[in-house]
Symmetry: C2
Subunit: 119 residues, 2 copies
DNA sequence: CAGCATCCCTTAAGATACTG
DNA sequence: CAGTATCTTAAGGGATGCTG
């Protein structure tokens, strides 16, 4: 990023911002949600549960989640190949926060205020 | 719940994703946090409290927050101009979720797993 | 003081095609 | 089956300078 190397430690230390760096991508939460509900899913099952995701995004997001300690990947060396994904303990501990956020989101949605971006 | 009806209703209906559309920008949370703590702040006060933000991003983020019903803007027509921002009720109701997220983020941070992106 | 306008750059995300 | 590689597009974010 073109960040100015000046002085500030702007939002680097905000834990919420940190959390969003882990799960703020477009697909991270849908993936984690599916995994937390099912505890273990194969790649294709996951893909089928998440409407609209492409292989690219699913594989890439899973990799990031794994790197960040939120998903465990187990590969069975058989033919045909089989890989299973599960949520880590850390991911499961995220659920209360997600539920709070979800409650709030649902509330906000109901008031049917349109979501506006910059014009 | 959450079984695929047909196919494409991807994440449009996920309340968490909806919430993140409202507050997922880089500066929304720092801004809301400052406002919720102080209840009312002028533009420059806000800017000073949020290290690293530019006029562009502050003004733009405030506008979006206002459009989405999370921030109230009151403009006093005097010279020099004075504008005050406050959190709406909806923004205040977000606090529990932010606190949960923050707790989790702090936990995650401590395990000092590096935050990885795509390579 | 409280902002907009403009231009630019980086990153996220998606389409498409191919492989062990 | 479970992914990669490559390319393209879209959006977010930022620097700088100007205005009511």
């Amino acid at each position: 990023m073109g960040n100015s190397q000046k002085d500030e430690a702007p939002l680097a230390d905000c834990p919420v911002t940190y959390a969003l760096r882990l799960i703020g991508g477009k697909w991270q939460i849908p993936i984690l949600w599916a995994l937390c509900q099912n505890r273990v899913l194969r790649y294709q099952e996951l893909k089928r549960k998440i409407a609209g995701i492409t292989n690219m995004m699913l594989a890439q997001s899973l990799k990031e989640l794994e790197s960040n300690g939120l998903v465990t990947r187990i590969q069975y060396t058989e033919i045909p190949p089989r890989v299973e994904y599960s949520p880590t303990e850390a991911a499961l501990r995220l659920l209360p926060a997600l539920e709070e956020l979800g409650k709030w989101g649902a509330e906000m949605k109901q008031r049917s205020l349109p979501v506006e971006g910059p014009q």
